[in-house]
């Protein structure tokens, strides 16, 4: 690789790119319908100017600077500028409510904030009294900002202009600051998604982030010719590594879509070669595809179904040890030409070299479905504290239910409860301002307790069962891991989210959150009228539809002796989408199980008491009645075919 290993911080890497590939694209942004390019020189110049202006305003080494906004070149330029001066970047989730922002800003003692637009500025201003450490708020988009007269506010453009004027006089200082940084400095402070309890501030150093980025780049043989989309929340470490740290290490180009709504079309225009997604994104992509195919109907739908069935058959045969007959290979070729290829094109994935799914467990069937389409989708394992890249499946060594082998430099160990312990150069430095928490999570020998249950198979592949706190047992002692069951249900386009209960219960029951678009379309086709989400969700026809889906999953579970007892006995459909704004999901879309269980307690109790209806208090004295339905449970059968 051309990158000199002496560059141990991101600002040093940025300066290196400026020298080596100054005119190559670093970022592209679609704005007003046109893709606009920022070269490495452009990025470095802008970061330098911003850094000059920030240092003039007193930004000190080690200062914590929050960034809140969408993926934009300016967000990344600001991050570079902050780190240039030795500051620590604290990317926050841009759709967090003001209340959710208070804790991170207080805990991290944020002094400067980069906010994308009026919406974000409003949030920060509304919590300013609780956050006295905030001295300066830099906003990018000036729309609607004319009336704001708060002394803390300064526009990005003004800052940039000031920086450009100061640049000549600050040249020496900037060079010295860039040189002063070293790999052991704190680079980022990420807040964990907080599925249980408040989010913790995880401090990561340049050394660990750069090390992990290099390891992953080596596995995939990434070069500076890669193109990737930046569309996940920058507050998530995965997105940050992928769209900021790794480009800094490898020198590839990041594309920012116009808005999250245009992501699919924009992705198709850019044809990324490297892609990161969460299982949720992959599920919704698939839902869109099946919705559109259903609309197309006729020949298209028939071809798609035949093609996918053929792929499943040949996969089953290969898994059983066969090498695939000539007939199979011929069919696969034809399918690739007629079905998979065009589908890849529609998804914007025809140029993909590798795609990763991370952030949550993916249903093996979904993973294999994408692989069937000829997309090299792989499941990663990692978390904020472990520097994201813990296990990466090697190319040609991908298994549906595993996250691959431990990545280079990672050591794995298991507790008797099968909790995964990780030791790696990518481990976090500390939880900010919480030495006790750090000590609890990270042992003196450097082993980090992940809180995930998993095991190493005989093949050396790591397999994740679930979060430790989720894994429980039914009353008869059968092991119960909710995510497995839920992910199977989420494969149906009509089902968006599932939360199942079973720990310390006699059987498994679930709450279902329907996918409004897909179920709505299903209802339209059958001339079932409804007024909105709540109405649709409580229709008897929809209950039957979901009961059907559950019966299919139950039949599948019944074939596996270990899971036969985990069949779903009863369910209810939620009348409103689970939303992070109500605290039911984290900002990355993971379930907050405890909060949901508490919120829908009467309903859960009713699920287990045999009643067919329950009343849920909506607050403000209003309440809603929700129906409960039984699901068809299959008799446990021994597995018919060898897996």
């Amino acid at each position: 690789m051309a990158i000199d290993n002496a560059a141990d911080t991101l600002p040093k890497l940025l300066l290196q790119h400026l020298k080596e590939r100054g005119d190559r694209p670093a970022l592209r942004e679609k704005s007003r319908g046109i893709w606009r390019t920022v070269t490495w020189r452009g990025l470095a110049d802008e970061a330098a100017a911003l850094a000059a202006a920030l240092s003039e305003r007193g930004l000190q080494r080690g200062a914590h600077v929050a960034l809140i906004g969408d993926n934009r070149p300016r967000l990344y330029a600001a991050m570079s500028a902050v780190q240039w001066l030795g500051g620590v970047a604290v990317p926050l989730y841009q759709d967090a409510t003001p209340d959710e922002l208070v804790a991170p800003i207080q805990r991290a003692e944020i002094t400067y904030v980069f906010a994308e637009n009026q919406e974000q500025v409003d949030k920060i201003l509304s919590i300013l009294p609780q956050c006295p450490t905030v001295r300066c708020i830099v906003y990018d988009k000036d729309r609607g900002m004319r009336h704001y007269k708060q002394p803390q506010l300064v526009s990005y453009d003004t800052l940039l202009q000031q920086g450009k004027e100061l640049l000549a006089s600050k040249q020496g200082l900037l060079q010295a600051e860039a040189a002063r940084g070293n790999g052991q400095d704190a680079a980022f402070l990420f807040f964990t998604s907080g599925t249980a309890g408040p989010a913790k501030g995880v401090v990561l150093t340049y050394a660990s982030m750069i090390d992990r980025a290099r390891v992953a780049a080596a596995v995939e043989g990434l070069s500076d010719a890669e193109v990737a989309m930046a569309y996940l929340p920058p507050g998530w470490i995965g997105q940050n590594l992928f769209a900021y740290v790794q480009p800094m290490v490898v020198g590839y180009c990041i594309c920012c879509p116009e808005s999250s709504d245009t992501m699919l079309a924009d992705m198709r225009e850019m044809g990324p070669s490297y892609f990161l997604a969460t299982p949720r994104v992959l599920e919704s992509l698939l839902t869109q595809v099946s919705m559109r195919l259903e609309d197309a109907g006729g020949l298209n739908l028939a071809m798609y179904e035949r093609g996918m069935a053929a792929a499943r058959r040949s996969r089953a045969r290969t898994a059983a040890g066969g090498s695939g007959s000539i007939g199979d290979r011929l069919i696969a070729k034809v399918c690739n030409l007629l079905i998979y290829g065009p589908l890849r094109d529609v998804l914007g994935m025809s140029k993909l070299k590798v795609a990763y799914t991370a952030g949550d467990a993916i249903e093996p069937e979904l993973l294999m479905l994408y692989r069937t389409l000829g997309i090299n989708l792989k499941q990663l394992y990692g978390s904020t504290e472990t520097g994201f890249f813990v296990a990466i499946p090697g190319n040609g060594d991908v298994k549906a239910d595993s996250v691959g082998r431990a990545a280079q430099g990672v050591e794995l160990k298991f507790t008797p409860q099968r909790e995964i312990l990780v030791r790696s150069p990518g481990l976090f430095k500390e939880y900010y301002g919480d030495p006790e928490g750090t000590q609890q999570a990270k042992s003196a020998e450097g082993w980090f307790h992940t809180g995930d249950v998993g095991y190493l198979g005989d093949d050396g592949h790591l397999r994740i069962v679930d979060r430790m706190k989720n894994v429980g047992a039914l009353n008869d002692g059968t092991l119960y891991a909710p995510r497995l069951i839920e992910n199977k249900l989420k494969l149906f386009p009509y089902i968006k989210e599932v939360i199942s209960f079973g720990d310390k219960r006699d059987n498994v029951c679930t709450l279902i959150d329907i996918d409004f678009a897909a179920t709505g379309r299903w209802a339209d086709k059958r001339a079932i009228s409804y007024t909105g989400h709540a109405d649709l969700a409580s229709r008897d026809e929809v209950y039957e539809l979901i009961a059907d889906c559950i019966a299919k999953v139950n039949a599948e579970l019944a074939q596996n002796p270990a899971l036969a007892k985990s069949q779903i006995h009863r369910f209810a459909i939620l009348q409103k989408e689970l939303s992070p704004d109500e605290g039911l999901l984290t900002r990355t879309g993971k379930l907050r199980r405890a909060v949901i269980a508490e919120r829908f307690k009467p309903l859960v109790d009713a699920l287990y008491s045999g009643r067919t209806e329950a009343s849920i208090d909506l607050g403000h004295g209003a309440s809603v009645n929700m129906k409960i339905s039984n699901a068809k449970v299959s008799a446990a059968t021994p597995a018919r075919r060898a897996a």
């Binding site: 704005s31 007003r32 319908g33 046109i34 009026q118 409003d122 729309r143 609607g144 004319r146 009336h147 704001y148 116009e258 808005s259 709504d261 245009t262 079309a265």
Partner: protein
Amino acid sequence: MNVPVQPSILQSSERAFAIGAPILELDSISLRFGGVHAITNVSFNVLEHEIRAIIGPNGAGKSSMLNVINGVYVPQEGTITFRGERISGMNPPLAARLGIARTFQNIALFKGMSVLDNIMAGRYLRTHANFLEVAFQLPRARREETQNREAVEEIIEFLEIEHIRKTPVSRLPYGLQKRVELGRALAAEPKVLLLDEPMAGMNIEEKQDMCRFILDVNDHYGTTVVLIEHDMGVVMDISDRVVVLDYGKKIGDGTPEEVRSNQNVIDAYLGVAH
């Protein structure tokens, strides 16, 4: 129904464009259809850069008033003065050239065309290249096309409709169609924007969005806005001054507070025994 609007905009005493002199004056307008008196002797003015609302119960003559302003109807009596100049024989093309753009109560978009094309259509008056120049893509036509597209893209960004840029209008939900229509009116870079029930048939969220866009248009481009609205709450929140019509007559005129406490208005809206 009272729709809350971002306080940051409302509470600001300082406007980007200070309210100026009357830009549009309507004096003693009377409009009859045969024996039906749609509007009877109504006078009011609209100041430059203000948001002026016309409200009233069903059949009060609100839409007729808007149609008089842009020349769809010619009143039997009364005069219209635009920017100090008395306009005799107002008609829609003239109104457009003067810088008066409008939207319609029942959306009047080109249903089969994309959002982009619809808004581009609003640039018609800003295009000077003739038919042949456009047909042969001569330099001026191409230059203007680029300029127009830039202006339209700015509006698309302003109204946050990037994701439907290429979607045929007929496939869009009602609330978005209304937004596209606003976009087309804005594309003409109007001095005065007439909005005929911009929030009719919308849910609360869509109404909030629309309110924000109207306020932003006024704030960002300085466009004078005349709007008709049914929803009292909305009107009171975003207007500078309000005219109240009832049975074709003006029964109130003033700031939202003044109008709200006007006994005639209360009677018209709540109904009194005659």
